[in-house]
Amino acid sequence: MSANDKHETLESYKAEQRSTYVRVMLMVNIVFILLLVTIGVIALKVSNILPEGQDIFYIVGKDPSLDITDGDGKKWKNQENVDIFKSNYENGEGQITVASQNGDKVIAPGTTTKYMFALFNDGNVALKYETDIDFSLLANGNEATNADEFPLLVRLSTDEDGGRYLIGSETEWVSVSKAKIDSYVSQLGASSYENFTLEIKWEYEGGNDEFDTLLGNLSAEGVADGNGGLLITMGINTVAEEHIDPEAKGGTMVQENGQPVDVEYGGTIRWIWLILLFINIAMIIFYVSWLLNKRVNKW
């Protein structure tokens, strides 16, 4: 074999090897891209059937979170008792006009109480939330069927837009039976909060002294009999989920040094991923072009 023949053979071998490597790399790239897409689709599908609040992968970048805290600094947990009612009430002159005998929280005609709580989205994506109120009446340990007749009035307001009423108004109170049907739906932007005030009132001059007296007597009899008397339960429920638009606005943004805080929900990570994807696509295009070029040159 001549030197030229040997050189041609070597070059041919090298080209063949190169070609093999390129084919392998091309296959690997295609497989990985397909794998990438497949994992994304699986994650989407699986997330729809997971129990609430769980993610199958650690979320980096996107960090949704909601905290609810009341005016006493107590964080809400499911069905946890907070201090909406009191055991003593004072009138406008600071005199105690209602006082529990045994330390129970009580309510009576002429009492008004306020409960303040705040929803804080301390995550970096917007949330959509729904808040509602529920109420029940227990008479001597049994649920009363006429709970809707209980003469309790409520108002719910927020400090958004300088203060507005969600239930009732500045001059109007709503019966608790009606308030528990309505719910309030809104959205909270990332790093934003909204303050709420729930006011509860039993009117002193409610127009039905006989009924008020009956309720007081029933409670006294129940306590004397050891049945607990007339008990009311008030609950506030909030359900939140990610907003379809992570950058939706709502509530008051947290400020630092007078400026809204920066919020990022993983855009950087997404960009890196996209760049890598494009690089892979570019590599595939390059290899295909190289292959085609080689074929053409061969012809």
């Binding site: 699986v46 980096v60 009311i232 939140a240 991923w273």
Partner: protein, 263 residues
């Protein structure tokens, strides 16, 4: 060498792509959360009961001697008029207030005692007229075990009404009985105000939450059959029996107790 560097670079980028894929795919998971807060309160106790004798039971249209079971010994001229007479007696009022409300309350007592037209007079101290004669009103009131009446009058046992609680005018007697009633309810008879018709006197006392009420009092009246002056009793009877009814001696008593929550 060129191929190896390129391979390595490609491999590294692919690995990074895979790793970030794990992170990004997590963004497809939907975040949801819920929280709720509840509280319970008991309706504050009321449980106050006020029981009083009905007004129509203070005086009667007829009275019986305890020994006579089938007929009355004193019967009014017509059956609609309550009457008093020698030998009659009755309960002026009973009051029973109980309960321990968990709210601030005002206890309001409205009273009226009116002794009108007791114009028959007598020399109560038998001094022959040295001291002026005083109205002859033989009604004796008993409040909290103490008898109240006009000077010189005796009760059904023949006991003189004590000097400290006997008076020379019916107005003083009225005031003394009213004050005695208020004192048994409240502990004193101060800070009274004019009542709203038909009542003449009103007293209001405020009690803080969880005050236990245990008022249980009886007030009575009597007109002794014996021991006083029969001739004067007769004069009173004649005064009532005459043609005019506007000069009839009368005893008018009214009492009201209200317990009300304060705002």
């Amino acid at each position: 060498m060129k191929k190896n560097k390129f391979m390595r670079l490609a491999s590294v980028m692919l690995m990074l792509c895979l790793i970030t894929t794990c992170a990004i795919s997590g963004t497809f998971a939907k975040y949801t959360t819920s929280a709720s807060a509840t509280d319970q309160a008991r309706v504050a106790k009321w449980g106050v009961t006020v029981t009083m004798m009905a007004e129509e039971e203070i005086f009667a249209t007829q009275y019986k001697d305890a020994a006579v079971t089938s007929s009355g010994t004193v019967i009014g001229g017509n059956n609609d008029t309550d009457v008093v007479a020698p030998g009659t007696y009755g309960t002026l009022s009973t009051i029973d207030v109980t309960g321990t409300p968990e709210v601030t309350v005002d206890v309001t007592t409205n009273l009226k005692l009116d002794l009108s037209n007791w114009t028959v007079t007598w020399d109560h101290d038998n001094d022959g007229g040295t001291t002026p004669e005083i109205p002859y009103c033989p009604i004796v009131f008993e409040v909290d075990g103490v008898k109240y009446g006009m000077k010189g009058i005796k009760d059904y046992t023949g006991t003189l009404v004590p000097d400290a609680t006997s008076y020379t005018t019916t107005a003083e007697l009225e005031t003394a009985v009213i004050n005695a009633i208020l004192t048994t309810i409240y502990g004193d008879a101060t800070n009274t105000v004019a009542g709203t018709s038909p009542y003449e006197i009103q007293k209001v006392v405020r009690y803080t939450p969880n005050h236990t009420f245990a008022i249980d009092e009886d007030f009575s009246w009597e007109w002794a059959f014996n021991y006083n002056v029969d001739a004067k009793d007769t004069e009173l009877g004649n005064l009532s029996a005459n043609a005019s009814s506007t000069d009839d001696p009368t005893v008018d008593f009214a009492m009201q107790v209200i317990v009300e929550q304060v705002d």
